[in-house]
């Protein structure tokens, strides 16, 4: 039992301390960028109190906007106060899946920058099956998600194939394919197949109700079954990596490709399979996003889910559980940030500062160790070290 806690402390301590540090430093930014605070610069005491209350209000708004808002909960509808939490989870759901797509690639020693493009192709596949066909409810969801997975697995697997056959570096290829996906969706939304009748702006028809993911907490909340799919996917990735021969090969190639090859593991097959699976995960994210919260394909459906995924996977140390937690954190910061912006004078951009600082500290464990004077901070399996020559 003690060993178990030591392990938890070993892996969670660095992210937790980085988190704390990021909030403290961002607090300084919030205070020092606030006009009200700066006006009191000549009165040290007043300056301090105004600064503290500004920062306090900003973080309170961040909390209210992401977890629980007492203003929404009155009388017998306390329940309703959790509306922000539902929003957080809805935002985090696609991020979990794209984050897994990056994390799994890290485990095989690959750097998947292409979650963005894979996400878009998944969204296109799910959208088309969703609006074009009519099936019975459950079946329709499965078919639409199946289309998302199949299309994006091909899209991702293509990268693996290129790398295995020609040695083309996956970082370059996936970056380029992100552009292709971005322009492809612009084009496809102009075709008669995809453009919604009587519309000129790029939007596809709404997916049929039978293909929409069911709500989990009633119609007042946007929370949908996508989170269950994402958690299932995270469990699947953990199981694959730790309990199967395929995952064993993935990890072996990721840790030492030369030794894996010498022992008879086919590195090219692992590369192709990994990229196809990563594509499938990101694509599933796109599908879940369309069927669960957006219900219609638009040109900017991808948002920055694929790019934030890289940060999420790094923050989650390329482990499934870590990725889920990191995605939830990012979801909370994003939804909470909007409330913070509208309720206080603190701009949404401060959320980016917080995110950036967390990642910065995670990447610089020596700094965190120095600041908090802790020894034995676990830094060994940081996945960032591999990079270009990997």
């Amino acid at each position: 039992m003690k060993k178990f806690w030591n392990r938890i402390a070993g892996t969670a301590l660095l992210p937790a301390l980085s988190f704390l540090l990021a909030f403290v430093i961002s607090g300084l930014f919030i205070a020092l960028s606030d006009a009200k605070v700066l006006k009191e610069a000549s009165h040290p005491l007043k300056f301090m109190t105004t600064a503290l209350s500004t920062v306090g209000n900003a973080y309170l708004a961040l909390f209210q906007g992401s977890i629980f808002d007492p203003n929404l909960a009155h009388g017998h509808t306390v329940w309703q106060g959790f509306y922000p939490l539902s929003e957080t989870i809805v935002t985090a759901t696609p991020l979990i899946l794209t984050g897994l797509a990056v994390a799994l690639a890290f485990q095989s020693g690959l750097f998947n920058i292409g979650a963005q493009g894979q996400f878009i192709f998944g969204a296109i596949g799910a959208s088309y099956v969703g609006f074009h066909f009519h099936f019975s409810p459950v079946l329709h969801v499965f078919l639409a998600l199946g289309a998302a997975i199949a299309l994006s697995a091909l899209y991702g697997g293509f990268v693996g194939l290129l790398k295995a056959r020609t040695g083309a570096h996956e970082v370059i290829v996936t970056i380029m394919l992100n552009y292709i996906a971005g322009f492809f969706i612009l084009w496809i939304l102009k075709t008669t197949t995809f453009l919604r009748p009587r519309r000129i702006d790029p939007i596809a028809p709404e997916v049929n109700p039978s293909a929409q993911l069911p709500h989990l907490a009633g119609a007042n909340f946007r929370l949908h079954a996508g989170i269950l799919i994402a958690l299932l996917a995270a469990y699947f990735v953990w199981w694959l990596l730790n309990r199967t021969t395929i995952g064993f090969q993935f990890r072996a190639v990721g840790a030492n490709a030369a030794a894996a090859k010498t022992a008879g593991i086919s590195v090219s097959r692992v590369t192709i399979a990994t990229m196809a699976l990563c594509g499938a995960l990101a694509g599933l994210g796109g599908g879940v996003h369309v069927l669960g919260s957006e219900h219609a394909l638009t040109a900017d459906i991808g948002g920055s889910f694929g790019f934030d995924a890289i940060t999420v996977a790094l923050l989650g140390r390329a482990k499934p559980t870590g990725t889920v937690l990191a995605a939830l954190l990012f979801g909370a910061l994003r939804t909470g940030g909007r409330t913070m912006q509208s309720n206080t004078t603190t701009p949404l951009d401060i959320v980016l500062v917080i995110q950036a600082l967390i990642v910065l500290f995670i990447a610089a464990p020596t700094l965190v160790r120095f600041i908090f004077r802790v020894k034995n901070l676990k830094t060994k399996d940081a996945m960032t070290a591999k990079g270009w020559n990997g």
Binding site: R243, T244, T245, I246, F248, Q249, R251, A252, A255, N256, A258, A259, A260, K261, T262, A263, G264, I265, S266, D381
Partner: protein
């Protein structure tokens, strides 16, 4: 200058790496420190060079106590060190590496190399080194890179030079040249601390020998002691350097290689037109100086090389065109040249490393799921059979010593049904005890009727194990000779001279 160590003690947690070590080195003396891997030689030298701080004890230079907190302190009192793994920047020139850390610049910050160049050339001339100051390190052979390291120490007035396992990376010729260099340095008054576990070299060059075992000085030996005596002091028990070899009993041909050509990606031949046969119950050793195509030949046998032509038949089955996995499972045990790079996955546990090849087979796999229990059971058995010294089979394989790492590789490779053992430099960097184990195991495989293809650059190893010896030079097999051939003749063949 003389160097004296008194009661040096250093522990890491519960492990006492150095336990009250006394040692003295006189001016112009080559003092060998002999000990197995993990005996505490490197710890001691890192203390002298300031990379580690001792828990207690003192260091005296010319009778005066000095404190050495970091390498620059060591250099200041005249102690220089050449590490086993060179500390050179491959894309810099020789001269740039020499001035590194001591750059002098003009007023506007331009590097001034002319002074250093003159000094370097003068020093090189003094010792009779031929060295091009403008050559890039990455283009130089290992032996020359080592000379750059030595010059780097000397140019900053090192009077005591620590050479940490300097011959581990050298070919026999380069080793001979290094020994000459060491003798020349001695005659000019430089003291040398020579760390090694290679007995022949230690005997050839040292004036005094101190043997360290488990962190303690166990003996001072004379260079005239026999190799067996030195080895026994090192290991702490009688050692048999020449394994007992039964008469060979060769059977049917197992591996038949015909007209094999291995090309590099640009089409240049690395191995050209090589043909040989290995029979059951026989050890064929491929000898040669490092870099004459042996590595590529070894890899080609298990299809790790991409561009090969010719024929490789194992028990009548053509291997060319098969995958690595299929080649291995035709019945080859393959011990790669580099344990760390190609043999093992450092971050994986011992148990996981033991199933790298067979993880898809029962009982370790059921369908696509792995059975951790079956993997662990098998690992426990093999750890016992191969005497792998580990705290737990779940420990990462990097936590093991070199000898135990090699045992993990052997345990994995020899547990498949095997007709042929291909072992490439199987004892490189191992200590005496582990070498003994590996040699006995190789001969046991031979006596059990398997064919053994041994690649080794160590002449001692080749003559101890082989029944026949093929010498490779410039990608070709120059001759296949009987194991009774003289050392001199082998040396000539390795240098490319064919009578």
């Amino acid at each position: 200058m003389s160097l004296e160590l008194k009661g040096i003690t250093k522990s890491f947690g519960a492990l006492v790496a150095n336990d009250g070590i006394d040692l003295s080195v006189n001016r112009g003396e080559i003092h060998a420190i002999l000990g197995e891997n993990g005996a505490g030689k490197s710890t001691l030298m890192n203390i002298v060079y300031g990379l580690l701080q001792p828990d207690s004890g003192e260091i005296r230079v010319d009778g005066k106590v000095v404190t050495i907190h970091e390498p620059s302190d060591a250099l200041a009192v005249g102690i220089g060190m050449v590490h086993q793994h060179f500390m050179l920047i491959p894309v810099f020139t020789v001269l740039e590496n020499i001035v590194l850390g001591h750059e002098s610049t003009s007023k506007i910050g331009k590097l001034k190399l002319s002074e250093a160049r003159e000094k370097l050339l003068a020093l090189a001339a003094d010792f009779g080194f031929e060295i091009d100051p403008d050559a890039y390190i990455e283009n130089l052979p290992v032996g020359v890179q080592q000379r750059v390291e030595i010059l780097k120490a000397l140019i900053y007035d090192a009077k005591v030079l620590i050479l940490d396992e300097p011959t581990a990376v050298l070919t026999p010729q380069e080793t001979d040249e290094l020994i000459e260099v060491m003798k020349r340095l001695r005659s000019q008054g430089t003291s040398i601390i020579f760390i090694s576990h290679k007995l022949r070299e230690v005997k050839a060059v040292s004036d005094r020998i101190t043997v360290i075992r488990r962190g303690k000085v166990v003996a001072s030996a004379d260079p005239s002691s026999s190799q067996e005596e030195l080895a026994s002091l090192m290991v702490g028990r009688p050692v048999n350097l020449m394994p007992d070899k039964k008469r060979p009993n060769p059977g049917a041909p197992i591996l038949e290689v015909k007209d094999l050509v291995v090309l590099d990606p640009s089409g240049r031949p690395l191995v050209s037109d090589v043909s040989f046969t290995v029979h059951a119950g026989e050890v064929l050793a491929i000898a040669g100086v490092q870099g004459n195509g042996q590595s590529e030949l070894a890899e080609a046998v298990v299809n790790l090389q991409a561009h090969i032509r010719g024929s490789i038949e194992l028990g009548g089955v053509q291997l060319i065109g098969k995958s690595v996995h299929d080649s291995l499972h035709e019945g080859i045990a393959y011990v790669p040249e580099s344990r760390e790079l190609d043999g093992l996955i450092g971050s994986f546990s011992i148990a996981e490393n033991l199933i790298l090849d067979t993880h898809r087979e029962a009982p370790y796999a059921k369908g696509i799921t792995l059975s951790p229990k079956a993997v662990a059971t098998r690992a426990e058995v093999q750890v016992k059979e191969f005497d792998i010294r580990a705290q737990s089979i779940q420990d990462p394989v990097t936590s093991l010593s070199g000898g135990n790492k090699q045992k993990v590789v052997l345990a994995r490779e020899l547990s498949r049904p095997v007709k042929l053992l291909v072992a490439s430099q199987p004892t490189r960097g191992l200590d005496v005890g582990s070498i003994e184990f590996v040699h006995e195991r190789i001969l046991a495989e031979r006596d059990a009727g398997r064919a053994v293809l041994l690649f080794s650059t160590e002449l001692d190893e080749v003559t101890a194990l082989a029944d026949r010896i093929a010498v490779m030079y410039a990608g070709k097999i120059l001759a296949i000779v009987d194991a009774t051939v003289s050392r001199e003749e082998l040396g000539l063949l390795m240098a490319g001279v064919k009578k």
